[in-house]
Amino acid sequence: MNRFDYLRPASIAEAIAAAAQPGSAYLASGTNLLDLMKGDVVRPARLVDLGGLPGLDRIELLPDGGARIGARVRNADLAYHPEFSRRFPAVAEALLSGASAQLRNAATVGGNLLQRTRCAYFYDPASACNKRAPGAGCDARGGENRLHAVLGWSERCIATHPSDFCVPLAALGAVVEIEGQAGRREVPLEEFHLLPGETPERESVLAPGELVVALRLPAEAARFAAHARYVKLRERTSYAFAVVSAAAGLRIEQGVIAEARLALGGVAAKPWRARAAEAALAGARPDAASFRRAAEAALAEATPSGDNEFKIELARRIAARALALAAIGTPERLPALPASPFAPVPGAPLHG
């Protein structure tokens, strides 16, 4: 790890001023940042610790049915908050499907949004990586790329965003509250992460020094509470990043889907909201045929970025599975193995 200056400001204004200096990085819990620093992947000259800032660790359940979550709220505290998980069960399920008890206890909301890709070449300073060193090239293109993106990738970068949490947030229309030197602004989560294009080193809309202060779930997101699931396919049952994942929410009225939400994880450099699939589901019957049609619409534009064509059909199946599980209904208690694709879908063949 490189040497750096360590600051622990006591006010948000002070933190923003310090972090706007070139070479600075915010330190939330460090479960991603310190790991990257240990590997010499990033070498900030100054760490601005958010640990001393007031007001960033509250979970507020709003009277209108929505919620506002401070940027330093720990992933575990949010997932195990009884009223929060009642209103937004797919968010709790996604949080609990990520990492380990140790890491969920530490990881913060802001850090989860801004975690970096798990592309192995990004992690290896000896490899060429446009994200780490703009213009250097992309060793993933001709290398080990089974798990890379199938949507929204560019010639410059084919990495995915690894967060589970962000997938239901995108589906539910969450909003990111940001504070910077120019004041406060709000950005829908769906627009918060950037696709790589020509500049894969730019991963979010944040300008230097800008701080995520909170995340808001709008009241209408709670209307999906009775039919909301997250499903995550991993290379082993627990404690691994998603190969592909899906968050689904349905509003079912008189046996028909009044409104649907669907987002995919592990397929692109951002959580991927599938609006075409949502449109295809509106007014449809909640059955296997509708879910398959929606899944096909969700992946209509997908193309392999390497040796990963299998992910496209896998993503369709996981999307259809998440929708089918959502249609059955949110379980009363979160399952002991959250988001497991091994959970049986009553009445459906295993690979539907």
């Binding site: 040497r3 200056d5 310190l34 008890a101 890491l103 530490a106 002991a336």
Partner: protein, 160 residues
């Protein structure tokens, strides 16, 4: 930057140490304070050998900076036994031989204690899910899981 002075509480005792900004808490515990019960497996958050409690929360000490301990309460494996009296989990691990090389054991014990504090009556799936962040290359986990389940049963009996 000069060395930083950190005042903290470890296993209930007030402690002070000097550290470099880039030292992990794991490194400071082992090398500055001589508390070598906490182990380093990976240094990257994957294995759980470095598990401690930070203000009562189970955490990986390899991904915490030592300076972040300022003003907080740290719990390590050295604080698990009360003097000569082992914690029921420690006793059960010995009794049931739930360890082989022992490198993972301090982390597993700290994580298992945190699990039982939250959920005194876990199912086997819940134990396996709760301890998924603790890798063991020797035991195949079976004896660990059984020892945790048996300790839970024993502790429930003692409590009732």
């Amino acid at each position: 930057m000069a060395r930083i002075h950190v005042t903290t509480t470890i296993n209930g005792e007030p402690m002070e140490f000097l550290c470099e900004p880039q030292q992990s808490l794991l490194d400071a515990l082992r090398n500055n304070l001589g508390l070598t019960g906490t182990k380093e497996g990976c240094g990257t958050g994957d294995c759980g050998a470095c598990s401690i409690t930070f203000d009562g929360r189970l955490t990986c000490s390899c991904l915490v900076l030592a300076v972040e301990a300022e003003g907080h309460e740290i719990g390590t494996i050295e604080g698990m036994a009360q003097g000569e009296t082992l914690h029921p989990l420690q006793r059960k691990f010995l009794e049931m031989a739930a360890l082989q090389c022992g490198i993972c054991t301090p982390g597993v014990l700290i994580a298992a204690r945190a699990l039982l504090e939250k959920n005194p009556d876990p199912t086997e799936t819940e134990v396996r899910f709760g301890l998924a962040g603790n890798l063991c290359r020797c035991t195949g986990y079976d004896k660990i899981v059984r020892a945790v389940m048996e300790t839970a049963a024993e502790m429930r009996e003692t409590a009732s």
